[in-house]
Amino acid sequence: MSDHNDVHLEPTPGERFSKFLKRGDIRETLAWAAFYTAVFVVLGAYFYPKWMPTVMSTDMKAIERLMVVFTFISAPVCGFVMSIFTQTLRHRHKGDTPPPDGPMIRNNRLGVAVFSGVASLLTLTAVIYGLIELNSSAEAATKDAPNALVVEVTGNQWVWSFNYPSLGVESNMLNLPIDRPVIFRITSADVNHSFWPVQLGVKADANHLATTLAQTTPTKLGTIDVKCAELCGLYHAYMETSGEVMTVSDFNNWVTAQGGHSA
């Protein structure tokens, strides 16, 4: 046993790594990074749901979840950047003469590789998560289509109008029954508009002589604000209307009152 004491072995990667973690500057960086990551996680989880309007459809729910998850995915990057930001500011050079020379570090291949690898993995996570959400919303749309209520939406400088062909109703209000899939067939009578029922998490451009499709399922009773999200000329700001997600019986009553036949 004592024979081996004099032999200087190269440290194993594990030993080098644990020694690396014991360095003061590395510990400071990791501590700040953990702190800022936590701050961004909390901000994302708290503020997006707070700011964004009432979730009233399946799609809007997915959007809000996505915003929060994306904040979580990017939080470690923010943590890392802000950590070095804070740490170097704490050690700033004061005075009117240039600072002393720092260490001449021109590159660190392992560092670049680890950083690029982690950044790519996080990006990949975001990409895959987004593609899954995109696919599931497309699948839901196909599955729900046969049962869906069709609403023809027309943008006209500067009003929205809604036609329910299966019910024989035309209106300037977007009223919808709860829990029934709805397909919007969107077009424009003049320039480009963008149909945006805010609480439903749906947006699609209204193009002249073309029809755009969008689909969702309202899941909560309440008021819908309908806006135009594409600059369409003079009164673009005022091209808004509203509507309501109603119980099925209220919706049928409204349809009858409008002179239509209930579904």
């Binding site: 700011w51 890392f80 070095i84 720092g102 001449m104 987004g130 995109l134 945006w196 600059l231």
Partner: protein, 622 residues
């Protein structure tokens, strides 16, 4: 022993009485330009067929007038003397070329067709300052209107024009904000060149751009533009006479950009000093070159889109007007094929300036030069494959939304490398927080927010909610203003001593920095909230529920305005009264700090020889 620059300045200047070249300047340009414009306007008014529809005829007359003004101005200032000599089988004499370089003409050379790259740089600098001032004032008016709900300040028509003209003025200014002043003044010295590769084209690029400024201003007097700077068809096809000014501006600007881009690229490729191999080129030069090289293929699509819009408006060609068989989607594609590379054309030089600054102020080498180059090249390469992420909701082939989402999010990876280079350079350093260095920290925070909000926007389901909202406006201001303009302002305070011979007033620099950056965070925090709450962008009025976030934003905007007024004062005041700058006030190692002020006509008395990259700061580590 006389130096090279003394020899050059000792040559005789041609007799001013005899040469036409010596009589031409901005004044003769204005006279000939206005004469051409008036002649075109009145001759077309009287000779055009009365049967032509009034709308088309009006557009024909206005467009022709604007282009003839531009051509007339260039004739009057002497831009075509060289080409004309070639036509008759001659060329400019050496004396005339020396005269064109502005040798010994003092302040007058700034108002002439001057081929000295340093003069062109200063011309660009003041052009950019003027444009930013006009665009910034428009922003203040927009925020004043939005300070409270109810549209109490200006009418929707004026508001829409302000939004569009603010947009295009700022986009044009931002495209040239770094490559114009610093790419022309500093870059040739940085690479050890005596001038640009094509000095006359250099002067041409500036004066062509100059002719676009009055054209753009005329939009205001022709009833404004109702379309925003995106100028989507069919709205643009139906828009009033002000739209012609927008179209003409873009076409003229695209010519200027193509000329400048080709010139800068050629200069960097062919005129580097002896020994300056590609891995020894300062990183600003790499960033600026990739930026202008990216602009060379991007802008022609916008130019073509504008020519087609002009033809739709003048001859009813119907490229984009669905009423006669055209497609608005075609326009949107052409626009965004320019539009998305264009944001990186703006961003890259600003970032590259900051990369130039960090090593100097922490006294460490630039961390991983290769990663920086790969980052720039990666961004430029991917940026031409992402344009349709602006069209997720347009109804154009939803099937392709997925692929465009993937390419867009991939840009995070080279952008991450850019961050890594700056962070790695800062790492374990002791930053010297002079005004230029503050910009690096502002960039890190602003680009972080801009980048991450970009990630949400690139995602198709999330974009279903965020597209076309104030959230988008806040996002791109974080990247274009928070990152790119911050980089350019840092560059101004960094290179100011070399460009003016004096130091920029430091106290004013600090005050301006804090006003601008704090105001910036307040403004766009409010705008992110308004967007998340569901306020569409480009609205002249909004519902009561957005009142708080908008009030916050307007307060922030006024702080920014105050900060920039302080900066403008500092730039003007220090130019005349500032402390005389030493040759190398920051102790930097790039070549521009080895030449005195005023920089000699041919920059270097002896052509420099480069033996290493300019980042050899710091002491060796074991």
């Amino acid at each position: 022993m006389t130096t090279l620059s003394q020899q050059v300045s000792n040559r005789p200047i041609p007799n001013p009485k005899k040469s036409l070249i010596t009589r031409l300047n901005m004044g003769t340009g204005l006279i000939v330009g206005i004469a051409f414009a008036l002649a075109t306007y009145y001759s077309m008014q009287t000779t055009l067929d009365d049967a032509t529809l009034n709308f088309q005829r009006n557009n024909q007359v206005l467009l022709a007038t604007m282009f003839m003004w531009s051509i007339g101005f260039l004739v009057g200032i002497g831009a075509f003397i060289g080409p004309f000599r070639w036509l008759i089988g001659k060329d400019l004499t050496a004396e005339e070329q020396l005269y064109l370089a502005g040798d010994g003409q003092g302040i007058k050379r700034y108002f002439k067709y001057c081929t000295d790259h340093k003069v062109v740089g200063i011309q660009y600098l003041w052009g950019v300052i003027a444009m930013l001032a006009v665009g910034g004032s428009m922003a203040m008016m927009i925020r004043t209107q939005l300070a409270q709900p109810g549209a109490k300040f200006i009418t929707p028509s004026i508001y829409n024009s302000l939004v569009g003209l603010h947009g295009i003025t700022m986009i044009v200014a931002m495209i040239i904000v770094a490559t114009g002043p610093f790419g022309n003044f500093i870059m040739p010295i940085m690479i050890g060149a005596a001038d640009m590769a094509f000095p006359r084209l250099n002067a041409l690029s500036w004066w062509v751009l100059f002719t676009a400024i009055p054209v753009l201003c005329s939009a205001w007097f022709l009833g404004g533009i109702p379309t925003g700077w995106t100028a989507y068809a069919p709205l643009s096809v139906q828009a009033g006479p002000g739209m012609n000014a927008f179209i003409a501006t873009i076409i003229i600007f695209a010519v200027s950009t193509a000329v400048a881009g080709a010139n800068i690229t050629a200069t960097v490729i062919s005129m580097r000093a002896k020994g300056m191999t590609w891995n020894r080129v300062p990183i600003f030069v790499i960033g600026a070159t990739i930026s202008v090289a990216l602009a060379v293929p991007a802008f022609p699509t916008f130019m073509v889109a504008m020519i087609q819009t002009a033809m739709d408006r003048t001859f009813l060609t119907g490229f984009f007007d669905s009423n006669v068989g055209g497609s608005g989607w075609l326009y949107a594609h052409l626009f965004w094929i320019m539009g998305h590379p264009e944001v990186y054309v703006i961003l890259l030089p600003g970032v590259a300036i900051l990369m130039e600054i960090v090593p100097v102020f922490v006294r460490k080498p630039l961390f991983s030069y290769t990663a920086a180059v790969v980052g720039f090249a990666g961004i430029a390469g991917l940026s031409v494959l992402v344009w349709a992420h602006h069209m997720y909701m347009s109804g154009w082939l939803p099937m392709l939304n997925g692929p465009f989402m993937v390419t867009t999010e991939m840009i995070s990876i080279p952008t991450g490398l850019i961050f890594l280079v700056i962070l790695g350079t800062l790492w374990n350093g002791k930053p010297w927080l002079k005004v230029p260095m503050l910009g690096v920290y502002a960039f890190l925070w602003n680009m972080l927010i801009g980048g991450i909000t970009g990630l949400y926007l690139s995602d198709v389901p999330a974009d279903n909610y965020l597209h076309g909202s104030m959230y988008v406006t806040a996002h791109f201001h974080y990247t274009l203003m928070g990152a790119a303009l911050t980089g350019a302002v840092a560059g101004l305070s960094y290179w100011y001593p070399k460009m003016t011979g004096r130091m920029l007033n430091e106290r004013a620099g600090y005050i301006s920095f804090w006003f601008v950056q704090i105001g910036f965070q307040i403004l766009y925090l409010g705008m992110f909230i308004a967007g998340a709450e569901g306020q569409p962008r480009r609205v002249s009025d909004y519902a009561q529920m957005y009142a708080n976030s908008n009030r916050i934003s307007t307060f922030g905007a006024y702080l920014i305005g105050t900060g920039f007024i302080v900066l403008l004062w500092a730039v003007i005041h220090s130019w005349r009264n500032g402390v005389i700058a030493p040759m190398n006030p920051w102790g930097a190692k790039t070549l521009e700090w080895t030449v005195p002020y005023p920089v000699p006509l041919v920059n270097f008395d002896t052509p420099p020889v480069v033996t290493s990259d300019p980042y050899g700061y710091g002491k060796a580590v074991k």
